[in-house]
Amino acid sequence: MILLALTIGAVVILVLLAVLWRVRDSLSTPFGRALSLGTMALLPAVWVAGVLLESDARIKKVSFCTGCHEMAQYGESLLVDDDESLPAVHYRNGLVPREKACYTCHSKHGLTGYAEAKLAGLHDIYVHYLHEVPERIHLRSEYPTEICLHCHAEAQSFLEGRGHQYPKSLLDDLKSGEVSCLECHDVAHYLEGNDED
């Protein structure tokens, strides 16, 4: 629906630009001024904003992340029927938005997280097209605990979970990031022939 609206918007703008081109010698009339203001500034501003928002939404989708062949197996690992695998548990049970599961769990929240994710994505595309992709893909740095805590920090299962009570400082250490969730919940993407990732 959005795609259709944006396509129609593009056609309308192009038709108006063609009209503007035809009457470009008489733009100083009130009609010419109004036409050119709408066609050259107002309408394109709204339309471009719509295209950028739509593109941003598309780039966050799992289908975009797994579009590169090296990431396909990570997409498949979301469907593994294994209750130990964190990505599969979150994806299969709808604990993260299914359409943008990769983005939700691999980008920090807030504006800086968004910017970091964009830069990381550009780097990935650079490596994909201009470098040799390593056989085994690693995270750039240790998985940030704050991503887990964004959803889990106030959850009863996290605060009162048996495994989170001892030692007593564990909850605080988890919240401060001194201890990583992955130290215990260590089965991330289950890939064929790879028990560690």
């Binding site: 192009l14 630009l17 733009l27 050119s36 050259m40 500034a41 295209v51 593109s55 975009f64």
Partner: protein
């Protein structure tokens, strides 16, 4: 009463307006095509190029049509 004279010759101004319309049209076409592209590289390249051309077209038009008129 004195009227402010245009800082640009009429032909230059008209050429700028034409360039602005063309840049905007090309930018809109590129951005519209980006909506149907799935290859990551094409998508990443077409968005800044299309948006940039559209923005440049709008800015040149504003400059040539309003400030220089």
């Amino acid at each position: 009463m004195r009227t402010r004279r245009s800082s640009l010759p009429a032909t230059t101004r008209m050429q700028l307006i034409q360039c602005a319309i063309l840049a905007e049209a090309v930018g809109v076409v590129i951005l519209a095509l980006s909506l149907f592209v799935s290859a990551p590289l094409l998508l990443i390249l077409s968005i800044p190029i299309g948006a940039g051309l559209t923005l440049v077209g709008a800015l040149v038009w504003v400059w040539a049509f309003i400030w220089a008129s």
